[in-house]
């Protein structure tokens, strides 16, 4: 394991602005090596079609800007550096250029440029109809987006804060998720519903909600959570291109993460998990902001002699049980670290899914660290205690690995 650290440290230049950031950066470039082979063959246990892609069998698509250079490592490629919200914007802009049916609607996305600057400059470029400033009426503008999608447009609906989308829950659940089924396949709803959620810096209870748990049972939708500029752009593009309705969960505190991403075009898979750090002792499953808490804890754990395998699950619905399963088979211990509430959260579903499928490979019960089942308080100290902190992750791993 030490070898990997040294190797990566030498290869990558790390222009990091945040402590957490440097962790992820290191292992992003490591992905190009042996990790890819681990994931490349076989099938997720959910589906059944053969997906044969080894490092040697890549089927490159004509959409990729440059057809070669699969062998060169990322670190030596120029790429460009940007912040996460800029990566989202880049992905959005590229898709809007590519397909005239893609449009954006939401509060303050147009002239104001988006409350988190994700759509800055797009209204001037594409016009007011394509980047639509809506009134504050989440229920009906989400419904409008879905109605437009029924005819073939591909709207991206932005919730200024994910919590506001609770007002649109009926539209998302009944119309967005279910119309493809209840119409017998006649209507496709290729919408992307996106927005920031999660616990921020003392934003208060109503603005610190995690809606992944509420949406996860809706049949017919896909949910993804981005955590780095690289996967933010890739997932945004994949979500826009998907024919299914996709909910893209961003996090309020991650918008200013900086990373170097490639110049060429790339699209990520909506159903794949990301191997952040390979390991042997324990599998830590996480997503969104908790990834950074986990990586911080991983530093401490490594110093104490543990070797955690960290996977950013990214796809919240459906779970990438293939990657997760392979990891469980290797380490036999699972720790889930999430920001969702303990009751009925993503961790709860993931625990059930892993237990159902991989019980024979587990040496210990699955431990799930989630936020406390309380409304997020305003006071800074209390807020810190509602979410999982790196120290708790270290303790949990130590207990799990006894």
């Amino acid at each position: 394991m030490a070898a990997i650290f040294q190797g990566i440290g030498a290869a990558a230049a790390l222009p990091s602005t945040e402590k957490f950031h440097s962790q992820s950066r290191r292992f992003v470039s490591a992905r190009k090596g042996s990790l890819f082979v681990v994931r490349s063959d076989g099938r997720p246990s959910l589906g059944s079609s053969p997906r044969s892609r080894g490092a040697q069998h890549l089927i490159t698509n004509a959409v990729a800007a440059k057809a070669d250079a699969s062998a060169t490592s990322t670190a030596s490629k120029p790429g460009h550096e940007l912040l996460l919200f800029e990566a989202l914007r880049e992905g959005l802009e590229e898709e809007m250029d590519r397909d005239p049916r893609v449009c954006v609607m939401g509060e303050d996305v147009g002239h104001y440029g988006g409350s988190y600057k994700v759509t800055k400059g797009l209204a001037t470029k594409y016009g007011d109809l394509r980047v639509l400033d809506t009134p504050i009426a989440e229920n009906s503008f989400t419904g409008m987006g879905i109605g437009a999608a029924m005819t073939g447009l591909r709207p991206i609906i932005e919730g200024m804060n994910m919590g506001f989308l609770l007002l649109a829950f009926n539209q998302i659940s009944n119309n967005c998720g279910m119309l493809h089924y209840t119409s017998g396949g006649q209507f496709k709803i290729p919408v992307v519903i996106r927005g920031p959620g999660g616990v921020g810096r003392q934003l208060g209870a109503e603005h610190s909600q995690r809606l992944e748990s509420y949406f996860q049972s809706i049949p017919g939708i896909q949910m993804v959570a981005c955590s780095t500029p690289y996967n933010a752009k890739g997932l945004m593009k994949a979500a826009i291109r998907s024919e299914n309705p996709v909910i893209l969960f961003e996090h309020v505190l991650l918008y200013n993460l900086k990373e170097r991403i490639p110049d060429e075009e790339y699209v990520l898979s909506l159903e794949e998990a990301e191997m952040v750090r390979p390991g042997e002792h324990v599998t830590i499953l996480t997503y969104s902001r908790m990834r950074y808490h986990v990586m911080q804890a991983a530093k401490t754990l490594v110093n104490k002699g543990y070797d955690p395998e960290v996977i950013d699950i990214r796809s919240l619905k459906p779970f990438d049980l293939y990657t997760i399963g392979n990891s469980v088979k290797k380490t036999h211990r699972v720790l889930i670290v999430e920001e969702c509430m303990r009751t009925g959260g993503i961790g709860a579903s993931l625990t059930a899914a892993i237990t159902e499928n991989f019980i024979d490979y587990l040496d210990a019960p699955i431990v799930c660290l989630s936020s406390q089942d309380v409304p997020t308080p305003y006071a800074g100290t209390l807020e810190e205690w509602t979410v999982v902190q790196p120290a708790q992750i270290v303790t949990a791993v130590e207990q799990l690995c006894q």
Partner: protein, 398 residues
């Protein structure tokens, strides 16, 4: 098969036997009594239109004998289908919720007469007749109601989820009022693609108090979307009369800055005129509200007798005085476009068609168990899969 083609084949034969009779009334030109499309009849609607923030259209509606006979046929077909659905529900072949449209046929038929199939219609759960008007077949209707694979939504939607995308019918929605923002979305897409078509978003007097209606109306008016909001006011929101639910039951005025028109929804010609007027208006000026004053004979749904909140006298009173089919029958007879015997034979033929469709639907198979999992996602999860080497890789997941 479409209603109109069956009409042509049925009606041309019987009517050639009739002799031409001249008319003695004002405003009507002499005509031959065959179902021709050339003679223009101008008929005054029984009740004038009332406008809100707009000039109402004229009470004189132009029509042709062929169109009137078509109206009669279409409405009688819808009526027969709904009554047959009633008996099917009672014999437990249709389960769950079944909301019947009889009494309101004039709205569906009149609207179709004024628009094209490229215009969109979206409605709530009382959608069987509108589906039929949009070109659905009786067989598809009954199959869907009985949950068979040959139904319009493959048996997976049911009574409240009839759709026909290629004919511009967007359903079929169970949650009261949720279809109105969808309708504005359809109008938004029409404006985005510069189609020069309009969307009719239909809802009831019960849904008229939903917040999302006003939200959608605000957006439609703000962006001049070609949306026509049609309130089918049958005066009862399930069991609650309109005056007990709405402070202002003048639904055509509730749009405030959005113009509105109150229409006699039991008069198919008035509906046709209003819809034509609304389409012209929406393409130029943005949204407009049409309030169709109509009535349903059945209860809210099959589990509601319909008589606990209204008197039988009221129901039979409306049936005698305002029934849409009777009104057209009287028009046809008084203009001598046909005679009693011919109209009765049309109705008999319709009854036969409906019975045949039911028999056929009863025989058709239930969906295969594998259908449980189809159409949840489009093509399963099949989208492009890209690898960590940052290239776009295409692999198709099931």
């Amino acid at each position: 098969m479409a209603l109109s083609t069956s009409l042509r084949s049925n009606l041309i034969k019987p009517l050639t036997a009739l002799t031409a009779l001249s008319s003695t009334h004002r405003l009507r030109s002499p005509f031959s009594s065959s179902a021709d499309d050339a003679t223009v009849l101008t008929i005054e609607t029984s009740v004038p239109f009332i406008g809100h923030n707009c000039e109402p259209p004229s009470r004189n509606v132009e029509t042709t004998p062929k169109e009137l006979l078509g109206f009669f046929h279409d409405m009688a077909l819808m009526r027969r289908m709904e009554i047959a659905s009633d008996s099917l529900y009672k014999s437990k072949l249709i389960r769950g919720f079944c909301h019947l449209y009889d009494g309101q046929e004039a709205v569906a038929v009149g609207m179709e007469a004024a628009i094209t199939r490229r215009d969109c219609i979206i409605t709530a759960y009382r959608d069987h007749c509108i589906y039929l008007g949009r070109g659905g077949t009786l067989f598809e209707c009954f199959s869907e109601l009985m949950g068979r694979q040959s139904g319009c939504s493959k048996g997976k939607g049911g009574s409240m989820h009839f759709y026909k995308k290629e004919n511009g019918f967007y359903g079929g929605h169970g949650i009261v009022g949720a279809q109105i923002p969808l309708g504005c979305g359809l109008a938004f897409a029409q404006k985005y693609s510069k189609d020069e078509t309009v969307t009719f978003a239909m809802y009831g007097d019960g849904a008229a108090n939903q917040g999302q209606l006003f939200e959608a109306l605000n957006m439609a008016a703000l962006w001049d979307l070609p949306a026509i909001l049609v309130c089918e006011n049958n005066h009862y929101g399930m069991g609650t009369a309109e005056w007990r639910a709405a402070k202002s039951p003048a639904y055509y005025k509730r749009g405030d800055y959005v113009p509105g028109l109150k229409v006699d929804g039991m008069d198919v010609l008035a509906v046709k005129q209003a819809c034509r007027f609304a389409k012209e208006h929406a393409l130029k000026n943005g949204p407009i509200i049409l309030e169709m004053d109509t009535y349903r004979y059945h209860g809210h749904s099959m589990s509601d007798p319909g008589s606990t909140y209204r008197t039988r006298d009221e129901i039979s009173g409306v049936r005698q005085e305002r029934d849409p089919i009777e009104r057209v029958r009287k028009l046809i007879l008084s203009h001598e476009l046909s005679n009693e015997a011919e109209l009765k034979s049309i109705e008999k033929e319709i009854r036969g068609q409906v019975d045949d469709a039911i028999a056929q639907a009863k025989e058709s198979p239930m969906p295969d168990p594998s259908e449980l999992f189809t159409n949840v996602y489009v093509k399963g999860f099949g989208i492009e899969v890209a690898g960590a080497d940052r290239k776009e890789v295409r692999g198709v997941l099931p």
